[in-house]
Amino acid sequence: MWERLPQLVAYGLVSGSVITLGAIGLSLTYSILKFANFAHGDLMTTGAYIACGFLLLFRFLGVLGGRFGKLSFGPAMIPAFLLALAGTAILAILIDRLVYRRLRRARPVMRLMASVGVAFVLRNVILFSAGADPYYYSRKIQRAIYILGVKLKADQLFIIGLAAVLVVFLHLFLSYTKVGKAMRAMADNPELAQVTGINTERIIAWTWGIGAALAAAGGILAGIENKLITPELGWQALLPLFAAVILGGIGSPYGAMAGGMLIGMAEEVSTAFVSTAYKPAIAFGILVLMLILRPQGLFGRR
């Protein structure tokens, strides 16, 4: 059983990458908008479906075909990916304008409740438009490559790589750009940010945009990894996402990154002992453990 460990850890890096991308966005909105967004998983689903829609469109038009080497996708994925990120970001900002903005002064739990409503609306709009049957990103069986003693498919290496790149981008953004610093400032102290003259509504829009774009990326990568997507994709990801955010510490996007990886690895390693159906239960177990032992998470402050 233990010989499988390195392989499971490798799989954990892959699913951890997907969870991390979702968890970062969740952590950002949590720390800047001060509520747990239960619709975040469905933003991942939205991104996955928008990309899929464009992929189907390109296939139908007979353009941008082919694949990149051993990867399961080709040039079509580039515009599909970017358009999906942009589309999801715009949608999230729109939802904020219509719903959460009107609840800015309400108790945080009202925003939480509203986000549950948004989650059901998003998911069922997708269900209405695309149906309940899964959509396929690709059907080809992939050969695995041997790297450092574990087997990984080219797609999986890509997922880990892209997630790493996006994480680095986010770090640079938060550390060196004016908007990034303002986001950190707002997470620290929203009232002071107002007093300082920071245009808080604009920063909030940026937060939604970035968080949603990262979620969309996570959703698309999940589609690439699982080869298919269903409308339940995001809702099922909610537990691991929350587990990652709480494990890493609310208010710390870097914590969310670590949390995402840890949850991913825990889930995969657990398959050596428990049925794969119970992966979300593992994430939940870790979540409860953290809430009992150390509610502020590994890196959290409050």
Partner: protein, 234 residues
């Protein structure tokens, strides 16, 4: 006509009115201190002037222009900056990043402004890469004031800048306030350390139960026996 005029301000929180018709004025490059017992409404007055609270009645004008009810991010552009009493820095940002946030509304190069603040507070230059959360109370107060100065305001509102500071640091704060005034900024201070604040002030106001009780030059208030017994602690 004064730089800042607040006339007959009625303001409060929700349905509760705290200020029942208060008026204050601040002239160019003046230091004006507001003192009074707890609950007199001093902080409420500052928040109302800065647009964090909407007055039920009354007018506020800055440089002759009506600014009643203007929100903070507009007022900072008009030259009024505010330093709250608590939570007045961003703890997880560095000193320099805190100052940069002060100049958020500006485009373009803010280096000259950073330079000016560092001149005023050399300690901040030395510590500019340090996370403010790890700094002491006195140092944080400096960061808070420096942040408010980044926009080159014509008037600075300070809410109890020496609260919770050790006595030796309190003197530093008042020295800084004088230096800030000397660089061309008017200052409206709300203070519990009434004596020391009045000592450096041109004028002062005494607020009790949300109303003006007394006003005069800093010296007049300090020498007034009645007030002295009530608020200045003898």
């Amino acid at each position: 006509m004064r730089l800042l005029e607040a006339r007959d301000i009625h303001s409060g929180y929700g349905d509760m009115e705290v200020l029942h018709g208060v008026s204050v004025e601040v002239g160019k490059e003046e230091i004006v201190t507001i003192i009074g017992p707890n609950g007199a409404g001093k902080s409420t007055l500052l928040k109302t002037i800065f647009g964090l609270l909407r007055p039920h009645k009354g007018e506020i004008s800055l440089d002759g222009r009506e600014v009643t009810g203007f929100p903070p991010h507009v007022l900072v552009r008009l030259g009024m900056c505010y330093v709250p009493q608590v939570d007045n820095v961003f703890p997880s940002l560095t000193v320099q990043e805190n100052l940069e946030m002060g100049a958020f509304v500006l485009r373009g190069d803010i280096k000259p402004r950073l330079e000016r603040v560092y001149e005023l507070f050399p300690l901040l230059r030395r510590r500019r890469r340090q996370r403010v959360g790890k700094m002491s109370g006195g140092e944080r107060q400096m960061v808070a004031m420096g942040r408010a100065l980044m926009l080159d305001p014509t008037i600075l509102l300070l809410d109890e800048p020496t609260a919770a500071l050790a006595p030796n640091l309190v003197e530093n704060v008042f020295q800084s306030v004088k230096a800030i005034r000397d660089s061309g900024v008017a200052i409206l201070i709300v203070e519990q350390n009434a004596k020391q604040s009045l000592a450096i002030s041109d004028r002062g106001y005494v607020l009790v139960d949300g109303r003006n009780r007394f006003q005069g030059t800093g010296r007049e208030i300090l020498e007034n026996e009645e007030i002295g017994k009530l608020f200045l602690g003898g």
